[in-house]
Every structure is written in structure tokens, then in C-alpha cells.
């Protein structure tokens, strides 16, 4: 009955989504005002139904109800409870249900919390949210029903992809999806504003927290995903320019641009059309990402859930939603009054440069991701685009972007003088020069991108705290702190990337127990290789004792695991984290002669990459708090007046 309850909840939710779209858009018509009051409750009940469906899915997975096709195909009774539950979204149908659950929750959150948007725009926004949900409900019900029963339940499930049997699965997809799908709110806001032609600072101030919220989760999700891939895949890399990674990076780039342009709109009433465009593009990138990942049109390391027929379905949805929004943009934006103009040398000017660079990087990533697809459909030739293209094309742009990011916050709104700006960035500029000389002298022969990265990271770290200079720190608004922390995070992350790329050391050897291998500052002694049994796998486990100078030895246990359901081997890396870097160890195949493949890396300061990512998200959270708190403090006063 649990699966049927889930299916019925899903059907009701789909019907409510249809109603929500009708009410929301109907309220815009002359005489539609009475519908306004019904829009919010419908969105909330729709979300409650969707959450019910998702809860039922979790329940059938937790109980391993093998009469449900999805459970039989993607789970097993032998799995630990954590993976029986997370397995609910480690497959196509389940992850799509989670996607749409977050979409419905976003819509409900808007219905519950949004008080600043004019009622008509809000109704259109919720209507748009319902329309998007409707398409994805149809997708789920017609082509990916997660609750389908089997006439003959098998005795045991087919098991779960061992690469996904990791606590990372509990955090990474949900956070990323909240980010991805949270951007739907910005999209719906844009559609609502285009329909009512109400684009201005008030609209931007209403939209900003939603964009910020989604962006925080997207940042966290990408950071967590990068670390997960880093330790789980056992390849020692933290970013592979894999299509699925790009699919998460593209909405992030668009959302980052949107976050900054919405500030210009809120503060200076500029960049109206551009902000609307970005809001449409950001969620469009999320949907394109979903399409790329779900359709299997691009093969990638995430190829655990793919199906071309479903791809065609999502493609039609994309055509309707993105095409529809862009058509609305073309038809309506000209009738939105032009915003304020500004001097090129100003905070707005820097933000426009930031936006253009982010968009250019987005273009580079989009082209690189779609290029194999376009070539294949034109000539039938198969090719792949990898790091050499992305690093060379996006790297320099990103460095220029970081430089502008360093200078932007010390510039004044509307109009500034170059000489003044020069005086304000004098200290960071001096730090850049000192760092450049230091790096050139101490580390000759460093490649250009890591070199610029290190130098720029030093300067940016200094510049990012510049807005706090000579300010009363206790009276500095929280959102300014947010900006400082986020920009500092970019500098920290950049330093980690440059250090990892410049100073990583790698050793690949075939070692006998008793051998000692050197990597970076460590001497790694292979003490033993033993068989061990896990809950649903067997493994060979190496015991490594790493010592550095006279320091205490570190014991590491990398494993080579063999799962039998489904049959697959995974390399489980063992990582020792120290303040100045990570020792990353992987044990591989046995080599004739009683030896084992050992792969060791010493990665100086690599953890800064994810520490920086976390700081960026923390900055976003501070900023969000800063925007939300004063409002809460102000409300009782306003309500007092009303009474």
C-alpha cells in the first residue's frame, strides 16, 4: 500500500500543480483578483502531497520492498540502512522525484514567506512554479514512475552501485538539488515580472534572498561533490570537467552573475533586462544540466542513470519552458522601462565586467560541454573535450574575473575616480608585486597559470578584507561581512587550486610488504596487505605507515573493495590530512611476484580548495542573514502602526 499511497499523492500533486498554474496566471486577467487568495494555499498543499510521495519512496527503500521495481533494481536487503535510504535517490526515478519535491517545496516557501512582492507578480510567480512542476510531474508519471510494482517480486534486489555507497550520497545530491531547483524561484520571479512588467528595485530586493539561498546550496553542493569525487573515485583529482560537473558549474556561474546583477538592480535600479535574462538563464542551465545528466546523451562518470527516451521527454520540457521564457523576454522586455545609467568607472561598472566575464566562462563551459554532441550530430564523429580546453579557455578568464572581484568592492556606486581607486587598492597591489617577486625567486620554472593563481590569491585575500578597513567592525552590516568572507573564500580556494596544480607529487609503484616508498616529505612503509570483510563486500586492505622526518607515524588503510551485488571493484582511498596538505593513498591491483600497486600523492594545501568553497557559501549565508534580520526587527514597528 505504501507505493500506491505514494503514486496517489503524486497524482494529486500533479493535479494541484495544474490548478496552481491556472489560478496564478488567471489572477492576472481583469477580474481575476479573487483567485489571488487561493494561489498560496494550493502551492502549499501541492508541496505537502509531493513530500508525502517522496516520504513513501524513502519508506519502500528503507524497508527494501522488492515488489517495487525501482527497489528491486537499485537496492538489496544486504545493504546497510544508510545506503538503503540514500539509495532512494541514487537512481533516475528517485532522483527525479527528489528534484520535483524540492521544486514543490521552493514554490511552497515562496507562498509562505514571500511578503514583499506585489500580489499580482507573486501570483504569476507561483503560477509559473506550478507550470514547471506540472511538466516534471508528467515526466515522472509517464516515463519514470518510481512506484511501479513488479508482478513477481525477486528474492533479492539487484544491488546498488558501489561507487555511490558512501556517506557523500546523503549530502551531495540533496544540497546540489536544493541549489539547482531553488533557482526555479528566480526563474518564476522573472516570468512573473515579465508578465506584470514590474521590474525594479523592490522586485530585486524581493528576489535577492531566494537567489542567495539557492546559490549557497549550489556552492556547498559543488564543493561537497568535488571533495566526494576526489576521495571516492581514487584518481586524486578534484575537478574533471566531466559533463555532469559542468552541468552543476553552469547554473552556479549564472547564479553568481545573477547575484551581483540583482544587487545593482536593488541598489541602483540598473541592469533591468540583464537581471531578468540571467534569472531565466540560471534555471535554464539547471534544466539543461538535468537533461544532460538524465538523458545519457553525454557519457560521463555519472552514467549510472541514463535513458535516451527520457531524454526526448526532458528536451520537450526544455523547449517549452526555456523557449517560452525567452520568447516572453523577447516580447515583453522592450516594454519594461529602462533602468538607471551609470559611469563605466563605478561599482556598477565593475559588476557589469564581473557579469560579462562570468557569462563568458559560462559560454566556454557550455560550448565545451555541448561540442562533442554538436560534432556527433553533424558528422557522426565521436570526440571528447577535456581539461586542456577548459583550463586554457576558462583559466585566464577566471583569473581576470578574480582580479576585478578584488577591486570591485572598494569602488563607489554610480561614479568613481581611477586615481581614488588606485589609492584604495594600493596595499593589495603591493602585496601582488611582493608575492610575484617572492614566487619568481623562490620557485623558478613555475607554470604560468599556477603562478598567476598564487600571486592573485595573495592580492585578492588582502583586497577582499579592504572594505572593512577603517570601519567600525561591530557596526559593519552583516551583508558586508558576507561579501568579505565570500570573496576571501575565492582567494583561499584559488590558492588551493594553484598549489595543488603546481606542487602535487605523485608516485606509482609496485611494492612488496616491507618496502618503503617516498612521496613529498613522507616515507611510506607498506607494512601489510590483508583481506578484510565488509558488510556487503570483501576487500584487500593495505596497512601503510607514513612518517615525516622525526614526526609520529601515521597509519593509513587504503582498500581495494570487491562488491558482488552488482559485481564491481572500487578503490577506497585513505587520506591523511595535515595543516599543510594531504597524503592521498590508493592500493590497486596485485602484481605478479607478491607485489601491489601503490599510488601515493602528496598534495600541499589542497584542502584550501574546499575550505575556500565552504567560506564562499558561509559568506552567502552571512549575507542572507544580513538581508533577512533587519526586516524581522522592523516588522513589529510596522505592524504596530497598522494597528
Amino acid at each position: 500500500m505504501i507505493a500506491e499511497t505514494g503514486l496517489i499523492a503524486l497524482l494529486i500533486a500533479a493535479a494541484l500543480a495544474l490548478l496552481q498554474a491556472f489560478l496564478g496566471f488567471g489572477a492576472l486577467r481583469p477580474g481575476g483578483e479573487p483567485l489571488l487568495r487561493a494561489v498560496r494555499p494550493v502551492a502549499i498543499v501541492q508541496a505537502a502531497m509531493t513530500v508525502t510521495a517522496f516520504a513513501m519512496l524513502l519508506l519502500v527503500f528503507a524497508r527494501t520492498d522488492l515488489s517495487v521495481k525501482l527497489v528491486a533494481e537499485d537496492s538489496a536487503t544486504t545493504l546497510p540502512l544508510l545506503y538503503r535510504i540514500t539509495g532512494a535517490w541514487g537512481n533516475h526515478e528517485g532522483s527525479m522525484l527528489m528534484w520535483i519535491t524540492i521544486l514543490a517545496l521552493s514554490g511552497a516557501a515562496v507562498a509562505i514567506f514571500e511578503r514583499r512582492l506585489p500580489e499580482r507578480t507573486l501570483a504569476a510567480t507561483i503560477g509559473a512554479q506550478g507550470l514547471i512542476a506540472l511538466g516534471f510531474f508528467a515526466f515522472l508519471l509517464f516515463s519514470s514512475n518510481p512506484f511501479e510494482r513488479l508482478a513477481m517480486p525477486p528474492a533479492e534486489g539487484a544491488g546498488f552501485n558501489p561507487l555511490l555507497q558512501d556517506p557523500g550520497l546523503a549530502f551531495h545530491p540533496p544540497t546540489l538539488y536544493v541549489g539547482y531547483v531553488g533557482l526555479s524561484v528566480a526563474f518564476s520571479f522573472a516570468v512573473g515580472a515579465l508578465l506584470t512588467r514590474d521590474v525594479g528595485p523592490a522586485f530585486a530586493r524581493a528576489m535577492r534572498p531566494w537567489v542567495l539561498g539557492a546559490w549557497i546550496f549550489l556552492t556547498l553542493g559543488i564543493t561537497a561533490g568535488s571533495y566526494w569525487a576526489y576521495y571516492e573515485l581514487g584518481w586524486g583529482g578534484w575537478w574533471f570537467w566531466d559533463p555532469t560537473e559542468n552541468a552543476s558549474l553552469m547554473p552556479w556561474l549564472a547564479a553568481t552573475a545573477l547575484l551581483h546583477s540583482v544587487s545593482v538592480l536593488a541598489t541602483r535600479d540598473g541592469l533591468r533586462a540583464w537581471t531578468i535574462m540571467l534569472a531565466v538563464v540560471a534555471f535554464s542551465m539547471s534544466m539543461v544540466g538535468t537533461f544532460l545528466v538524465r538523458s545519457g546523451i553525454l557519457t560521463s562518470v555519472h552514467a549510472f542513470a541514463l535513458d535516451p527516451r527520457r531524454g526526448a521527454f526532458i528536451l520537450i520540457l526544455l523547449a517549452l519552458y526555456i523557449g517560452g521564457a525567452l520568447a516572453l523576454f523577447g516580447a515583453r522586455i522592450a516594454t519594461v522601462a529602462e533602468g538607471n545609467r551609470f559611469d563605466p568607472v563605478s561599482r556598477e561598472g565593475a559588476l557589469v565586467a564581473n557579469n560579462l566575464l562570468l557569462s563568458a566562462i559560462l559560454g566556454v563551459v557550455l560550448i565545451g560541454t555541448l561540442y562533442p554532441l554538436l560534432v556527433e550530430s553533424a558528422t557522426g564523429e565521436k570526440l571528447s573535450v577535456g581539461p586542456p580546453y577548459f583550463n586554457a579557455a576558462a583559466g585566464p578568464l577566471a583569473l581576470v574575473l578574480v582580479a576585478i572581484m578584488a577591486a570591485g568592492p572598494v569602488m563607489r556606486w554610480r561614479r568613481d575616480r581611477l586615481a581614488e581607486i588606485g589609492r584604495r587598492v594600493a596595499i593589495p597591489a603591493a602585496i601582488v608585486v611582493v608575492a610575484l617577486v617572492a614566487v619568481l625567486v623562490a620557485l623558478p620554472g613555475l607554470r604560468i597559470l599556477p603562478l598567476l593563481g598564487l600571486v592573485l590569491a595573495a592580492g585578492t585575500a588582502a583586497a577582499s578584507v579592504a572594505p572593512l578597513w577603517k570601519r567600525n567592525l561591530r557596526r559593519t552590516p552583516l551583508f558586508t561581512w558576507g561579501m568579505v568572507v565570500a570573496h576571501l573564500g575565492v582567494a583561499v580556494s584559488l590558492a588551493g587550486m594553484a598549489s595543488e596544480s603546481a606542487f602535487s607529487q605523485e608516485t606509482l609503484v609496485a611494492a612488496r610488504p616491507g618496502d618503503t616508498v617516498h612521496v613529498g616529505p613522507y616515507a611510506v612503509h607498506l607494512a601489510a596487505v590483508d583481506p578484510v570483510a565488509g558488510p556487503n563486500y570483501t576487500a584487500v586492505r593495505a596497512t601503510l605507515v607514513a612518517t615525516r622526518g622525526q614526526g609520529a607515524p601515521i597509519v593509513l588503510h587504503p582498500e581495494q573493495r570487491t562488491f558482488d551485488n552488482p559485481p564491481q571493484q572500487t578503490a577506497e582511498s585513505a587520506i591523511a590530512t595535515r595543516l599543510d596538505g594531504q597524503l592521498y593513498t590508493v592500493v590497486g591491483e596485485p602484481v605478479p611476484g607478491g607485489r601491489w600497486q601503490l599510488r601515493l600523492w602528496w598534495k600541499p594545501f589542497v584542502t584550501l580548495i574546499w575550505a575556500g568553497g565552504t567560506l564562499i557559501a558561509l559568506g552567502g549565508a552571512l549575507s542572507l542573514l544580513g538581508r533577512a534580520l533587519p526586516r524581522r526587527r522592523a516588522r513589529p514597528v510596522r505592524e504596530g502602526y497598522a494597528r
Binding site: G323, L374, S377, K382
Partner: protein, 179 residues
């Protein structure tokens, strides 16, 4: 810019999106193939010299393929299940007078002997490719896979996967055209 040009420009994002959509849709509609064709078609065989899989001293050398007549070069293995299904077709091809050279991938002579006793032996010679090095050099990604090599030792065609009964005529034609 005049207001008119701006109005036209506003439709550019939609047009760009529709173009991408059309390209992606055409890619999606096309039959999906996961086979990766070898880049070695039209190239001479890469040099190799493999020990015999039959325990005798007859080695399999790349140079020996340039003997004026076409050959089939079949990658297989005793541990490979589709290779069992392919074996009758290889025997038919051999009876049609085609020279077939085998390369056993990551295999052992004892297992090979058992495989050949059970499924028939269509091979003139069998080389042992213990590291898949030769297989990779030819741009092959799995077993079974069969290459058509012409009389000058040039790789002419590749068949990915087992040769089924329906493929025999095509293989015959491919070998005859490779003289």
C-alpha cells in the same frame, strides 16, 4: 543602435537556444551507438610479435600479414562468453577459404586448448596478448572483435562484437574486397 535593432536583438537568446535545441534533438533522434570505431582503419598494422597460444613455437607477427592475401584478425578469449557464440560463424568463414589469425586476450594456453576443443578451431595461428597491448594498439576495446587486414598489411575494416550468422555474408564481402 536604433530601437528597431534592439527589439530584434532581444530575440537573439531565443534563436540561439532553438539552434542548440535542434542540434541536440537531432543527436538524440539518431540511433545511439556505444561502439567506438578504431582510428586505425586505413593504417598499417602496428608492429607486434606474440608467443603462440598453442604451446608451440609459431609466433604471430604483424609483418607476416603482408603476404598478398587478405586475413581476418580475430580478438577473442577463452573466458569470453560471446566468443563461444561467434565460433560457428568463424568456422563457416574458414571453410569459405578465409585465413583467420587469432589473438587471445589475457588468456592461458591450457584454457585456450579446452576452448578450441569445445568450440572448434578456425585459427591459422594464435598469439597470446597477455597485457591487451596489441588489442589497444589496434584500437579495439573488447572481445570479440574482428579486423579485416588486406594483402599489404593495411587494416581495412573492423567488426565490433560477435560475428552473428547475419554478419557472415558481410564479412565475406569485406574480405574479398580487401585483396
Amino acid at each position: 543602435m536604433s530601437l528597431r535593432t534592439i527589439r530584434i536583438l532581444l530575440w537573439l537568446p531565443l534563436i540561439a537556444f532553438l539552434l542548440i535545441l535542434a542540434a541536440v534533438a537531432s543527436g538524440l533522434i539518431k540511433p545511439h551507438s556505444t561502439n567506438i570505431a578504431s582510428q586505425m582503419i586505413g593504417q598499417p598494422l602496428p608492429a607486434f610479435d606474440l608467443a603462440s597460444g598453442r604451446g608451440d613455437a609459431i609466433r604471430v607477427r604483424a609483418a607476416a600479414f603482408a603476404d598478398g592475401k587478405p586475413h581476418l584478425l580475430n580478438f577473442f578469449a577463452s573466458w569470453c562468453v560471446p566468443c563461444v557464440g561467434e565460433a560457428p560463424q568463424l568456422l563457416v568463414l574458414k571453410q569459405a577459404g578465409i585465413a583467420i589469425e587469432g589473438i587471445a586476450v589475457r588468456d592461458r594456453p591450457a584454457d585456450l586448448a579446452e576452448f578450441l576443443a569445445r568450440n572448434g578451431d578456425p585459427y591459422d595461428r594464435i598469439g597470446l596478448d597477455d597485457t591487451s597491448g596489441v588489442q589497444m594498439a589496434l584500437g579495439s576495446s573488447g572481445v570479440p572483435e574482428t579486423f579485416v587486414i588486406d594483402g599489404k598489411g593495411i587494416i581495412r575494416a573492423q567488426h565490433i562484437g560477435a560475428i552473428g550468422p547475419q554478419d557472415v555474408a558481410d564479412m565475406l564481402a569485406a574480405v574479398r574486397s580487401a585483396r
